[in-house]
Symmetry: D5
Subunit: 187 residues, 10 copies
């Protein structure tokens, strides 16, 4: 079975957000869209380029009522220290979750047990707390926040318009399809 439709694991973790420490938990997800953005480790190389890519698009995610949570197995103390010392990371305004117990990395099936770090995995979660899309890429290649945003908007569109579906490469404003028995074999 894939993870599509699975409820997010029950969790309660420390986060660094708005220059403060706070607790984030499962119930905070309900009622709005979320993106969980896992990466291996603070103070490394590919990760900051990805986090910056997301930081740049953060206003557009917020505009669609979607919160972003970055997650690594580092502590919130380390997130704070990185934020303090890196110009790139300083741009981040979304919560940075600390997962030293692995409750999230294992709950989303992205823990690499041999090294105790998370894979580069991204998960879109709907307002009911269910995973509706995800991608995982081997550790040395960066993701693309534009495609993530495109996919999020398509998922939000079909959630609001259940009788329509979004074809390949669909972007906001493009045409959609309306499935019916008469369309069978016609596309």
């Amino acid at each position: 079975m894939s993870q599509i439709g699975k409820q997010v694991v029950d969790f309660e973790v420390q986060a660094f957000a708005n220059n403060d420490f706070k607790t984030v938990k499962k119930s905070d997800l309900l009622g709005k869209w979320s993106v969980f953005f896992f990466y291996p480790a603070d103070f490394t190389f590919v990760c900051p380029t990805e986090l910056e890519d997301l930081a740049n698009l953060y206003p557009e995610f917020k505009a669609t009522d979607c919160e972003i949570y970055s997650v690594s197995t580092d502590t919130h103390f380390v997130h704070k220290a990185w934020h303090d010392t890196s110009d790139t990371i300083k741009k981040i305004q979304y919560p940075m979750l600390a997962d030293p117990t692995g409750v999230l990395s294992r709950g989303f099936d992205v823990m690499i047990e041999e090294v105790g770090l998370a894979e580069r995995g991204t998960f879109i979660v709907n307002p009911e707390g269910e995973i509706v899309a995800y991608e995982v890429v081997a550790g040395n290649v960066g993701r693309n926040a534009d495609e993530l945003l495109r996919r999020l908007k398509a998922l939000q569109f079909v959630a609001k318009n259940p009788s329509e579906v979004c074809p390949a490469k669909w972007k906001e404003g493009n045409e959609t399809l309306q499935p019916s028995i008469d369309l069978v074999g016609k596309i």
Copy 2:
């Protein structure tokens, strides 16, 4: 554990390819890159737009020495019939795999057991037969073959250049990073 680094399941299935029926099996993957592109069912709606999107980029995938395999739980007889009767599907030149036993859909963890169909899952497999990237999207939203091609090329680049890594949004020709202890905390 994620599926990154997992060997593809051992399999042997019927396929429709080059206007003929043939057998495709695990050992056919070794030595070149592969994409497994799962979709729910022939003669439906989103699927053909995605398959066409891939068909259009097929020459570029072939140029990078990567084969594409589309997969559904339909039989090869049905793939042939669809190819015969749909103008869209007629464009397809890559092998269409038949998975009525679910050996592939279960082997890649994308079988939806309640309906007997596969999720919209895409997997990039390296020449050693290991999964190196994947994405799964809920059934009513189409994927994007451009992003798939970008990611494939980045994975091929770092496979050839093990001391370099590709930052976020990297495209062929962009700069890469060379990790070293001196870069720690500098990005």
Copy 3:
């Protein structure tokens, strides 16, 4: 134990019937006779000759208050596409059930697990939902709808006349036997 007297498995599947998609389920069987007619795959060779043979006799089955359900592991989308494109299949007026999960093929013990397709199995089900006769033939030989109809009528006759039994080759209108202790050793 044979399958005689066994309740049909609980099921709910998609069907193509009367040029539309609908749901067929266990409770639809109760109160009238049914025939379940399994075959391996749409768009193949022996299957359409058998389905046509049944289609020709369909009025006689309906006249005895018996519904026919053809079943393969193909989807209802594929049934529709086949019906649209084949002159033979276009004659079919009975519901064509879609069994991609195998709930029916396994419930009636006719799934061929190595290929994910059903055997050529026919089952007569009484108005209480119990199997009262069945036959299974290896994949490359067609069945005979005349014999199926003969057998159905004999089973309906003894259901209505519990003190009588039908001898070999009995057809509607032939004489029956009335078992009694005095007949022991006299036939």
Copy 4:
């Protein structure tokens, strides 16, 4: 799983044949076709009409190199006594197998455990000892030896001509089909 392709159970039973008692066992089946014809009990009512129907066609079965074995859970002493005292049964020339242990009735899945008797089940077995067709009918309705013979001949035909298949209602001398990719969707 259906019983198609299953090896017949290993067995060794007493039989009444040619007015004598003899032993029949699994290895006697290899190299020629066989029919196993189960019925509930000697000295009853439907059974003798079925056995007579078979006895009449016995020369045609022998002509196709096929042996017939009738089977009930009665002893060989009882088969002899019935043969001695019933004019109908006296016509039987094929071996009558005694199955008081149920090795055959259970091996072919036709034992009715609550009463210790066999269902009305017929099985066609190929020269390799594998079941290739079978039918089972509730206890009060007789079978039809003509249809059994038609089916046997079709199975023998495709065994000899593996590239051909027999359509519905095929009888010796009728045309057959030759499956090929070009026939897909054409029947």
Copy 5:
């Protein structure tokens, strides 16, 4: 543990009795004495001499309020046929039980599993449904109904006179013993 004192198994079987078919069950035993007389098979050799021996003494058993039940694994149809055709068996007036399921043969531990037939076992059952004496003899030697009757009468005597015991070879009318501490070592 021996079978002495064991309740007879719960059962319900078909019987041939008084030229008719009827059902005999556990509760029919309560309130009077019973003899269960197992033998291997109808239409054989030793068995009819034993059954005739019992038939001759049947009036004396009835006079002591004891019913006799003969039992084999043959059906009631076969018992009827044997009764019809054998002059010896025709003398039998006690019920002949049919045990094709083996419920009695296994319940009294006399089933020979390799051949599906019962041993030559005799059981005396008291009015409470408990076994109080039994004997089993290998298949080719006949029993002796005189000794059975002697033993039944002795068992009935001590059941009525609990303070007395019957010495070896005791017959109706002989003296009995009255155990007391003063008899210890005196016999």
Copy 6:
């Protein structure tokens, strides 16, 4: 399963025989016939009448090459003491086996666990060490050594003449039967 055909349990016990103590064991049985005659307890009431009955016929048993072993759970010291003090028991010339461990009483399934004593069970054992006949009678009724001798001789007769069988009540010198297919239904 009955005990017919079962090998006697492996055993080694103390015995009182010929006014001495000796060991009797399983291997002593092989090559000649044996009777095991169980009874509850020394110094009681029914038991001595039975043992005397056997003692009187002992010469005839010896003449047929059959040894008698009486068995109770008392020790060999007690057997000796009883033999010394009872005029009845003093007549015994066969070995009296001591079974305080219950190896024989449990091995022949006649131990009454609630009281630690054996039932009144008699077993005839052939020269191969297999049980060929047995009887068990509730505790307060004596057995009959004449019937035991009749049965032993019949069993010895058919052991020597395997193609013949002894009918009911057969005694030495009576006629026997020779089973053949022509006798079926003729007795």
Copy 7:
């Protein structure tokens, strides 16, 4: 764990006492002291010397309100016979318990399973039914009733005077010790 403080097993056995048979059971022990005196077998050699030794001191045991029970695995019939025929045993006035089931021999852990006889074990039981002293000696050496009586009296003394203890070799009338912290290291 030793057996000190263990409740005597629940039991109900036959006994020979006062020239009669009676039942002795667990509840008979409560409220007075008891000695259980196990020995291997009636009619043997060491045993009667020990039983006589006890019989001689029986009045003194009774005077301390202590009952003696001798126990072997022989039956009560055998105890009676031995009492009748041996001048030594005739002196016994205490109950002789019969333990053919081994409930006592196993309950006190003195059964020798290989021979079905009890070890030479003596147990002192207090009025609460708990074992307070015991000894077991290999089979060929007799015990000493004087030492048993000494020990019984010491145990009765400390039961009545809980603040005192009896030193080694203590006999009735000797001084005892009164434990206190001031005595630590002073003896």
Copy 8:
């Protein structure tokens, strides 16, 4: 099962002996007789009177080639300290074993688990390392070394004279018995 005939547990413990510390182990027992004398605790009350009683008879035990081992769960340091400070204990010349792990107390089944101390248990062990006699007395009553010596000598006598047995109260020089079948019932 009793402990008679059981091999002493394998052990290796510290001891205080001859004013020094040394190791005592299982193999030291073989070839001579031993007494294991368990007591609850050093520096208590009954224990020293018993140990002194034994110390007084130690020369007689040594004269019969028997070693004495006293055992408590105290350490060898504590044994030394007690020996240093108590006039009574200073008399001891036999080894005092230290059993803080409980290997001996549990191996001889005398550990009182609720308090971690040993019962007052004495064991006589033969030169083959097997227990041949033992006694256990509740904690507040002293044992008697005279009776222990009497019993040891009787056990040594029958070990040397296997055809003789020692009657009750036997002491060195008394007569013994020679069991034979002629003695049965004569004592």
Copy 9:
């Protein structure tokens, strides 16, 4: 998991305290601080130097409302004897617990099973009965009561001042730290 935060095991043991014997149990700990000070054995070498070291500081521990319990697997009788005879031990005023059952040594994970003695382990327990610090040192090296007292006082300080923490080497009167997000990376 470490033992920090674990509830002390439930226990009830004998102790030597204030020149008397008394019982100490789990509930005695609640409401004040405790130190459990394990050592291998009374009457040995390192142990008394450690116990004296503690005895010297006992007034300071009492002043902080902390009780000290020394523990070995010796009995309370031995503690008393040691206290009586050693000038060093005579100084001890805190309770000396006796642990011959090992309930404490095993409950605190310091039992050395091969020798039945405790390791040199020290445990600080808070007024809720939870372990808050511990140390264990191999058997031949003495501990340091000054460091134990320093640590106890620091633990008491932070228990009273939950927003402060004690840095390395902190002693009463030194400065403490007040953790806050602004201190991250500043120390």
Copy 10:
């Protein structure tokens, strides 16, 4: 069981040492003394004071041939970043081990599973890789490197001088004790 004498778990981890990244593994420990110094997290409060305390004494540890390893569940990237940015941490010259998988924290039993961080635990390991001393303190109280050094030196002393032991508070140069039987009870 305590952890004294336990082999250190087999491990291989990343470390930051000498301004570089390197691998440290089990085999690096053999042949010299080691201290494992666990603390909860980088960039926190008590931890740096403890690490600085150790850093100050590092030359003295090195002088005794002992390596120090600090360990937290942070990555080596984070150790490097902390070392770069904190003046306190910059003083550290010993290797800082990274334990994100918890192999060390669990192997030494100091992982706090609820938060994924290590307790404040210190372990002294001898040149054979065995733990010889350890201490664990609840999270908000700092340790004392002076006491650690004292203890290390005492352990090294007794390792070199096995016949001597170090009393409480022993420091280099102080007198030691030489255990012998004559010292028992003299300290």
